[in-house]
Structures are given as structure tokens and as C-alpha cells.
Amino acid sequence: MNKRLYANTGVLTRLVFRQDRIRLTIWLAAFIVANLLVANAFATLYPSHAERQAMVETMMNPAVTAMVGPVYGLDNYTVGVMLAHEMLLLTAVVVGVMNILLVARHTRAEEEDGRVELIRALPTGRLSNVASTLLVYVMTNILLALLVAGSLMLLGIDSIDAAGSLLFGASLGVTGIFFAGLTAVFAQLSESGRGTVGLGMAVLLIAYMIRAVGDVSSETLSMFSPFGWIVRTETFVNNYWWPIFVTLGISVLFIGAAFYLNAIRDMEAGFLPSKAGKKQASRLLLSPFGLAVRLQRTGIISWAIAMFVLGASYGSILGDLESFFAENKMMKQLLGPVSGVTLTEQFITMLMAVLAMISTIPAMMFLLKLKGEEGKGRAAHLLVRSVSRIRLLGSFLVLALAGGWVMLSLAALGLGVVGNAVMEEGISLGTFYQSAMVYLPAMWVMLGLAVLLLGWAPKVTVISWLYLVYSFIVVYMGGLFQLDEWVVNMSPFGHVPELPVEEVSWMSLLGLTGIAVLLLVAGAVGYRKRDVQGG
């Protein structure tokens, strides 16, 4: 290939770094701090072998395996092994998300916005944009690997040794490079930044679920997922390096494919066909609500499918879970028998919390799309055309509320239908549905917070995302980290009665709903008063 294809990559690399220096620093710091805190917490909370062994016994079930991967090193479950078991996969998933978002932003989104046009008119190579982006992200992922490894080594925990720390860091790094390469390929296929992110996220989710089902029922299946390879490094136990090289090898293929496709295509064109649009707006489109739906149609449909499949994949392990409990006497003792409730039902409560929080992601995205529209100056098109601000905000809010409900319902249905198909003693679909729906008020509080921020501090709507992440950590991992009650209670999801194990507590549900309403009203008042950008 011609060297001129890469002309000026160096200058562009500095440009990408320059734009991302703060963003990257925050991401990297978050990965490092999170893993250090967790490693430290494990060392303090589970100091003795017996305590850790007791802990891992409760984790040795298909539901946890589906979420974090299989347990390795059971006979010697050290703090290091515990860290890799609990954290490696989840951190790798988030590293994947970071790479998808940022690589899409510098490749296809940059091209979509017309900035690549200016760059390409200068003496830069056809591949310089994608090459500089990948160069920055490969370096970032290597840096992430080294920093995570180095900081873990410095902790001075015996079982977190140098070899394992390096492999832990390398696993994160290669997962990042894998998704950076994959996203670069999708940036050639799709014509939009959103489409690129969507394809990347879809593959990430599918890879995670293939591994989940595979780890529970079939080792071979897990081999089709990059996450399946990563957990098979058996970090801090056997320290296998082959998954690192396999992942790197495939990443190189992706990068080659991205370069090839970029070199032969027209600027701003993609390889996936984009259909011709409609000549006339359908009646549905002709209202702010219709517009909100139409703008996010692809997102709504993709999320609906994803939530159902996610519910169904969790459902598919309920059968394994049931027979696992039937055989495992110790497990029964550990969890303590709650009268009239099966152990499977107890696990359903945990799954519901997770599904409810994941369903909140699309709901918040549907709402915060309004902010994106405003930033691009498109909200103004509507506001100047006799659409009141409250109506505009209301349209996106209704979509978010309805969307959240649909997503959660689909997840619960997927879980219930597939779960019942594989369990011997079924649980009624109504029970599944009810135990999901009690999470709606908590979701409304999250949406309320997002509206409040939209109304009063639109620059920092990211706080609502951070709050969701916080909720996820405290609710999902609260028990593992032995967090105080109040820390969990800071999240709306901590107040939801855990059906079918607990009774419905109308008090807390009404309380959450009340808070949600207050937040929504306060946010709406602010949205009416503030400046709207763009024109």
C-alpha cells in the first residue's frame, strides 16, 4: 500500500489526543481507582481464607456465573482470584464501551459532521483519520493495561502478584483494542456516528450474552465471544496468555479490514445501504411526540429486542439454577430458608433489580435525546413553530416513561417465558411481571433527576448517568462489599420491595413516586425559564 495513504497521521494523532486528554484521563482514572478500591475492599472485608471460601460458595451458582464468569481457583480463592473473578469481566465490558464510544466519535461522527472533509482537502492521506484514531486508542489501551497492572502491584497484597497483575491489565487492554478495531470497521459500514455506536454496542451485548449462556451450559459456545476468551486467562490462578494473543490477532484483522474498506470508499459513504426516506411525513410524525419516536425508532426497536433477549438469556439459566439448588444442600443453609419461597425465586429478585436498572438506560437515552437535539440547534425548529417548551419536554418524557415500561416488561417476559420453559416447577408469569413492575417508581425517580438537570443544569446531565452507575454498584454489589444500609438507600433502587420474596410495600413505592413527581415538576419549571441553545 501507498505510504501517502497515511500522510500527516502524526499531526492528526496529536489533534485526537488534544481533544480527548481530559476525557481519557477521567476514564483511565476511573478504571484504576475502581479496581484498586475493590481489591482493597476484598482484602479488608475477607481477610481470612475461611471467609473468602464461604463467600465463594454463595457465588458458585449459574446466575452469578452468567453475570461474572466461571470461578477458577476454587481450592485457593485468594484476594487476587476474587478480584479477577468479580471484576475482570465487568471492567472489560466497560472498557469495550469506552472504546466504542470514543472511536466512533473520532471516525464516523467526525466524518458525518463534515470535519473530515476539511482534513481530507489538506495534504493528508485517505487513511490518516482512521489511522490516527486507532493509534491513539491502541496507545490508550496499552497505557490502561500498564497503569492498572502497575497500580495493582503497588497495592502490596500478596496474592496480587506481578504476573497476575500484568495479565489482568493486559486482558483489559486487549479487550479495548478489540473493540476499537471492531468499531473502526463499523465506522466504514454505517453512514452515521449513532449507527456505528449502535452496531458496536449490539456486538458487545451479544458477545456478553453468548459468554453468559456458554459459561453456564457449554464451554464451546463461550469460545465464540471475546469475553469468553478473557475470563479464560484464569488470571491469578493459572495466568494463561493465549487469550491475549488470540484477541490481539483478531484485532489486527479488524484494523486491516477497516483500513482496506476506508481506502476504497467515498468520503461520507458507508457500505450498509441507507434506504430512501419517505416523500411525505406520515400523520404520526406530525407532532413533537411523533418526532421524538421517529428520531429514535432504530434505537427503540434495537433496545426492545436487546431487553427481551437479555431477559430470555437469564431465563435460560433458571433451569440450571433450579437443579443446582436441588443438589446443593449447603447452599440452602447459606441462603437461609425463607418460608414459602424457593431459592430460584430469591435469585429472581436479584435479576429483576439488574434488569430494571438496565431498562433505565434506554429510558434515559430517549429523554436525553432532547438535549442532543437542542445542542444541534434542532429543538429551536420546533420551539419557534408554536410548540410550547412543556409540550416538547413532555413528548420526550412520555416516550421515556413508556419506553422504560416497555423495556422492563419485555425483559420480564423474556425471563418468565424462557425460565418457565426450562424449569420443572414453574413460576407464574404474573409473579415475574409484578416483581419487575415494582421497579418502575425507582426508574421514574431516575428520569425525574434527568428532567431536573435538563431544566436547571443541562451541561451536567451526565450526573444522572453517574447516579445510575452508583445505583448499579450499590444494589448489585452491596452485599459483596458489605456496604452500609444508608449507602444502598441513597439509590432509589435500594428502596424497592424485592418481590416475590418480600411483600409489596406501598409506602416506599408511593414515596418514590412522590419524589419522582417533585423532580419532574421542578425540572419542568426550570426548562420553561432557561435559554434554549441554537437557532
Partner: protein
């Protein structure tokens, strides 16, 4: 000396045929106007010339090199300004200009600061805070401060105020005086009329006219208002006469420019009392071609 030629340039976007055999030629030291209705294929042509799109058929040669294969080398000698300039929201205008100069391998020079002053641009503002016209100015300053041999400008003044428009025209004339070539696509006809030596009109992916402005004026009609002592009964049937209308005691009609001589000879036989003529403008030429109505 020819700087740029295209030969039967054709471009398909899937089923859409955007260009259908475009032939243009830009010579050294001239300003070449490229005009045509929306969607005619101007931007597509320019983007092929810049090696951003690959022609389906035909060739585009600049400075003797292929526009797609030798894009990087060529771009060292070409400056481009698009109609819609999008910049990096968190960089300042000054930083963007410097970045562009750097990418061309140049050094910051006096010309940059002089242009910033002439265009009244505040280079310390973040690009997200620039108005449309100001973003355009950033691209114009970057383009004119480079010493390119060919300037490709695609509606470069959409969004500039009349004062800045004048600065832009000065800049074009300056580079022209230095013997450089400019390919200017624009919808502002007065601008094209003022700046361009030759123009090409494109419609539906085909060049329908090209030549110097005076060449093209031959293709236009002059509007005449004539009052004669005796009525001109046969006027409407004279060759080259169109749209005859009575206006009080006078007659208003259009004459094909190349028939002007005969028609004037004809009407002078009726004893002219009053005659007024409106010169053919580029706009008339445009209207005729844009509407796609030939003859009447």
C-alpha cells in the same frame, strides 16, 4: 496553460446519477465560475477533484496528475473552502487555522495575521461559539494564507455579510494577480459576474454551457422598449423576437442577442420615437437555463 481538466466525469450514487459526463477545463491564472441549480452536481464534481469521491467513470486531472491517485501530493498545491464549515467545538479559531497551516507543512506567517485582521475574525474564540459566517471566515483565512496554486471554493461566501464578501473578492483578485487559478462554485451571480473570467453552467449532471461571460452573453436576450411613429404589425413574427407586449403606446419585447442587428434595422423603418434597452445579465442567462425551458 491548463491547470485542471475533467474528461467525461461520471458519478453514480447507487441508482442516483449525480454526474453524467462533465467536461470542464480551468486555465492558469483564471477565475472559473461553476454555477447551476441546487443538486446539479457542483459539489460532487469538486469533491471528485479533491479525491474525496471516486469517479464512476472518466478522469479528473489536476497539474497533470490524477485527482484520486495523487490526492495527497496535489493537496499540497490546492486550497479548499466548503460552503458548510464545521469545526472542532473545543478548539479556537486560531488553533484551527494553525492546524491547517501545519497540515500543509507551512509555517505561521504574516499573511495569516493580516487575513485575520482583514476578515475581522476573533481567533481566540472557541469554535463552538462562532456564528456560521465566522466559521466560514476561519476556513477562508486558512485557505488564503496558504500559498496554493489552485483554490477550489464551494459556495465560500454563503453566510458572509456584504463587507466580508468584498474582502473575499479582494482576496480572489489578489491570488489571481499572482497567477493562481480559482474554481469558484456559487449561487451569488453578481459575485460570479464580478470575479470570473469564464463560467460553466451545470444542470442535472451535465455541462450545458461554458465559455467566457461575453461568449455567453450572445446566448442571452436583450429586453427592448420601443415606441414608433407607425405600428409594427409584423414584429412578433420577426426571427429572434419573443414575448411581445403592448405597454401603453410602446411595445416591450425580447430579442436574441445575435439577432439584435436585424431586428433594430427592422424597427428603424417605422420611425423610432423612443428606445430603451436593458442589458442581458447573467441572471437572465441563468433563468433560461435553470428553468430548463428552451425557446419560448
Amino acid at each position: 496553460m491548463t491547470v485542471l481538466t475533467t474528461n467525461n466525469l461520471t458519478k453514480h450514487f447507487g441508482k442516483v446519477q449525480a454526474l453524467n459526463g462533465v467536461d470542464i477545463e480551468v486555465r492558469g491564472g483564471e477565475v472559473f465560475g461553476f454555477i447551476g441549480p441546487n443538486g446539479a452536481g457542483k459539489s460532487t464534481t469538486l469533491r471528485i477533484l479533491l479525491g474525496m469521491l471516486k469517479a464512476t467513470d472518466g478522469e479528473a486531472i489536476i497539474f497533470g496528475k490524477d485527482a484520486w491517485k495523487d490526492a495527497v501530493n496535489l493537496h499540497e498545491r490546492i486550497a479548499y473552502v466548503p460552503g458548510d464549515v464545521n469545526l472542532w467545538p473545543n478548539l479556537t479559531g486560531g488553533e484551527v487555522i494553525d492546524l491547517f497551516i501545519k497540515l500543509r507543512g507551512g509555517k505561521r506567517n504574516g499573511r495569516r495575521d493580516e487575513l485575520i485582521r482583514r476578515f475581522q475574525l476573533d481567533p481566540t474564540k472557541k469554535c463552538r461559539a462562532y456564528s456560521k459566517g465566522n466559521r466560514q471566515k476561519v476556513a477562508l483565512v486558512a485557505a488564503f494564507s496558504s500559498d496554493a496554486d489552485l483554490y477550489i471554493l464551494d459556495e465560500p461566501t454563503s453566510g458572509l455579510d456584504p463587507l466580508m464578501e468584498r474582502v473575499f473578492q479582494e482576496c480572489v483578485n489578489e491570488v489571481k494577480q499572482q497567477g493562481k487559478s480559482v474554481l469558484l462554485s456559487s449561487h451569488i451571480l453578481s459575485e460570479v459576474e464580478k470575479l470570473c473570467d469564464r463560467v460553466a453552467i451545470i444542470r442535472e449532471g451535465r455541462i450545458i454551457e461554458s465559455g467566457s461571460l461575453s461568449d455567453l452573453r450572445h446566448l442571452t436576450r436583450t429586453q427592448l422598449l420601443v415606441e414608433t411613429k407607425q405600428p409594427m404589425t409584423e414584429l412578433a413574427s420577426q426571427p429572434g423576437v419573443h414575448h411581445v407586449e403592448e405597454k401603453g403606446s410602446a411595445v416591450v419585447f425580447q430579442v436574441d442577442s445575435e439577432k439584435l442587428d436585424q431586428v433594430l434595422a427592422y424597427i428603424s423603418t417605422f420611425g423610432i420615437v423612443k428606445i430603451e434597452s436593458a442589458p442581458p445579465t447573467l441572471e437572465d442567462l441563468f433563468m433560461r437555463h435553470y428553468e430548463g425551458v428552451e425557446g419560448e
